[in-house]
């Protein structure tokens, strides 16, 4: 009896330790090997191997490998520098970067979502792009100013270089609009009126991605901006609960709660079901960024839909009221700890060169942030022309503050919970929205 008691206790204790091992945060030791070579002599770079973490841009990780490998081979042929490629899905990328930052052992070059620029910049893990570094890749002026603005905090050297750009537009189903005798809406009032007319017999006017936190904050950002409001003040402090921000979130959630132009089921969407609903005719409109490739993959032909800028409060709005999109995009950064700095810079130069920008953005259906590449025929399709114009005329970068990722999680989740209330038939009022945003703001750590 005694033996069995001891062994059971031993088993229990082992189980306890194993279980606790899961919860206790562990960090590996940081090494500070900063022996970056700044030797710019191209001949000395020959034979060097750099690692590149590419974000997932194509239809799958394998698809990305297929797209990128011939381009990387081209680079190797021209410079003698080998590139070890790893494509990383979005769900893992930030944690991988975080681990690399902590351990000091990371890739030489990596892709980051441009909304993370300021957060990652604050860690000091990325190489700052000062004027000398930009000169080495052809100068800062080659890039669209909006894309540069989304590459780091204002007043600091950017933490990354823009690689792919995207912008939001309002996608509409041409046939459904023609059948209802409608033209694409320019104001929110028109969108709701049109949406109600199009919501009939299992079809909905609009599709939204209610459980996707990032998607939620992109729209909350634009709707607040149109009211002249921001989510952080100039010192980087959260201002989630301004009346304009509350109104912005309420307007977005109301598409399900009050206007009822989006299906209740949309509150649950987080896996791009919005695109499926739009491409299969379940929804007549959606607000999305650079969706051509995905729409096509779901069987809708390019001439069956149109793209216009996202509506504004009034027609022909100006200033902040005219903002219709956040500056969406992917940036390319060099890891501060790289031992192959010159080779890494050479690689960034290659990837942001005009011919490569045309090839890569053309393949991925995004817009080149390099101005010279934008005039290429590949980017003159009707929808890309609209998105390019949005990007240069009516897009603003998300707040470039270190706490941006907290904003995404806390406000994104608050909006998700409000959508859940709306879907369950619970009232969504100015007070309930304000309460949700107040709770989110209170959980923001002091920066």
């Amino acid at each position: 009896m005694r033996t069995s008691s001891t062994s059971s206790r031993l088993l229990a204790a082992t189980a306890l330790v194993a279980a606790l091992g899961l919860t206790v945060t562990a960090c590996g030791g940081g090494s500070d090997d900063n022996g970056g070579s700044s030797n710019n002599d191209p001949a000395s770079l020959k034979g060097q191997t750099i690692t590149y973490w590419a974000s997932n841009q194509g239809t799958s990780l394998d698809n990305d490998k297929q797209v990128l490998t011939p381009e990387l081979n081209k680079f190797t042929q021209a410079t003698g520098i080998k590139v070890k490629l790893e494509v990383i899905g979005w769900a893992d990328l930030l944690n991988r970067i975080l681990a690399a930052t902590t351990s000091g052992q990371g890739p030489d070059v990596l892709n980051i979502g441009n909304t993370w620029s300021a957060s990652l910049q604050a860690t000091g893990a990325l190489m700052p792009w000062d004027s000398a570094a930009f000169t080495a890749i052809g100068g800062k002026d080659r890039f669209a100013p909006a894309a540069i603005a989304a590459a780091g905090a204002a007043g600091k050297d950017p933490a990354a270089v823009p690689l792919y750009s995207m912008a939001y537009g309002l996608y509409y189903n041409k046939k459904m609009f023609a059948d209802a005798g409608l033209t694409p809406p320019k104001t929110w009032e028109e969108l709701v009126t049109d949406g109600k007319k199009l919501t009939t017999g299992g079809h909905y006017g609009l599709a939204v991605e209610g459980s996707n936190g990032a998607e939620n904050i992109h729209h909350a950002f634009v709707l607040a901006k149109q009211r002249g409001s921001d989510w952080f003040d100039s010192s980087g402090k959260a201002t989630f609960t301004t009346p304009a921000n509350v109104a912005a979130v309420k307007q977005y959630v109301d598409f399900i709660a009050n206007d009822k132009i989006a299906a209740k089921g949309d509150a649950e969407y987080s896996q791009n079901q919005t695109i499926t609903d739009f491409a299969t005719g379940k929804a007549a409109m959606m607000m999305w960024q650079s969706a051509a490739t995905s729409i096509k993959a779901h069987g809708m032909k390019p001439d069956e839909y149109g793209v216009v800028p996202v509506p504004t409060p009034t027609a022909n709005a100006t200033g902040d009221a005219a903002i219709t999109s956040m500056v969406a995009g992917i940036n390319m950064a060099v890891f501060q700890n790289t031992k192959h700095k010159a080779a890494a810079e050479a690689f960034v130069k290659f990837m942001t060169s005009t011919p490569e920008q045309k090839i890569l953005n053309g393949t991925y259906g995004s817009l080149p942030p390099v101005k010279e590449a934008q005039s290429d025929a590949a980017f003159q399709t009707p929808d890309l022309k609209v998105l390019a114009s949005v990007l240069s005329n009516s897009a603003a970068p998300l707040p470039q503050v270190p706490n941006e990722s907290q904003f995404e999680t806390l406000v994104g989740t608050a909006v998700k919970d409000l959508f859940a209330d709306a879907a369950a038939g619970k009232p969504v009022t100015t007070d309930s929205v304000k309460a949700a945003l107040t709770k989110a703001q209170q959980q923001m750590p002091a920066s």
């Binding site: 229990a12 606790l20 945060t25 940081g30 902590t102 649950e268 999680t409 959980q443």
Partner: protein, 334 residues
């Protein structure tokens, strides 16, 4: 080998050499004894080392970090993060402040989730194990089917559940609403109030086969004669379960319930796969909550402090549990 081999020169040995021979006899005995005593420790050494590296060292790091103000500004040189004393702990336990309030909420959610999940898993496991004791046609097949959830890769199983719980196209609503007509509309399972219940259902589905397996093994050890004797004395099935089965299963149950409790309380896979990085308010389990604090809001100090509090809570629960069940068993044995 030296202990048994006779010294070759023993016949011609004088008094001096007698001493040497005695020494030789002694030394092998010491070596033998050392080997007997030392060998178990030597064999334990790799496990101890692994334990140290895999659990103890990270745990100590976690505790150190909990006293630091480790945010994104310091993760590059994390050991240079400033010390924050008990600030992280204070923030975590101030239940009238937002951070403490949110942690307490997720603690209650987790506790409810754990008690429900463990209770139901145990009930199901016990019932199935008892029913499977009697031999009948198809028993082996049924046993194998019961163990499927335990054998499936967690991620694949959980993602399948999320498909089944989709409001519009999921199998769950299809059966409940379209086929059985038990609900007037299609409820949401992955957002809102039901998200908690969806999580409990998945957790029970995942855990009960383990309870079944452990209890089935435990039942094998109960001598059949006990039941035969009880039956002769006129005890019914229910009485047999109460008086023979349950007391005999007590040692198994003691470990089983504790292990299930600890696993479920720390469950990360279920909410993460079902809801992603931000679970609905109603299903905000403590593991996801700590993950968010540490890895999404990049406040590792705060996340570590919460982890340590959780560790202390689980240690306390385990200690009390072992004490109470140990005493009960002691009483039963006496």
């Amino acid at each position: 080998m030296t202990a048994t081999a006779p010294p070759r020169r023993a016949p011609e040995a004088g008094p001096d050499s007698e001493k040497t021979a005695a020494g030789r006899r002694l030394r092998p005995r010491v070596a033998e004894r050392l080997r007997q005593v030392g060998l178990p420790y030597l064999l334990l050494l790799p496990a101890l080392l692994a334990e140290l590296l895999i659990h103890i060292v990270p745990m100590v790091f976690g505790i150190v970090i909990s006293f630091k103000n480790l945010t994104l500004f310091y993760i590059h040189h994390w050991n240079s993060a400033p010390w924050s004393g008990f600030d992280n702990y204070k923030a975590a336990i101030k239940i009238h402040q937002p951070i403490g309030q949110a942690l307490l909420h997720s603690f209650w959610v987790t506790l409810a989730y754990t008690l429900l999940s463990v209770g139901l898993s145990w009930l199901l496991g016990t019932a199935a194990a008892i029913l499977m004791q009697d031999t009948f046609r198809g028993r082996a097949v049924l046993r194998a089917i019961f163990l499927v959830p335990y054998a499936l890769p967690a991620y694949a199983a959980l993602i399948t559940w999320t498909f089944m719980f989709q409001q519009d196209t999921g199998l769950v609503n299809h059966v409940l609403h379209d086929q059985l007509h038990v609900t007037s509309n299609k409820p949401f399972w992955l957002i809102g109030d039901n998200s908690f219940w969806a999580m409990v259902i998945v957790s029970v589905w995942k855990s009960w086969p383990f309870a079944f397996l452990a209890l089935m093994a435990g039942l094998q050890n109960i001598p059949r004669e006990l039941y035969e004797a009880a039956a002769m004395d006129g005890a019914g099935v229910w009485q047999q379960i109460r008086k023979i089965t349950m007391p005999s299963l007590r040692p198994v149950n003691q470990v089983l319930v504790l292990v299930l409790f600890l696993w479920t309380f720390n469950d990360f896979n279920t909410p993460y796969v079902m809801f992603g990085q931000s679970a609905p308010h109603q299903a905000d389990l403590i593991s996801i909550h700590i993950y968010q604090s540490s890895f999404i809001t990049w406040n590792f100090g705060s996340g570590s402090a919460m982890s340590v509090l959780l560790l202390l809570f689980l240690l306390l629960v385990t200690a009390v549990y072992l004490l109470v069940t140990g005493r009960k068993r002691g009483e039963a044995d006496a």
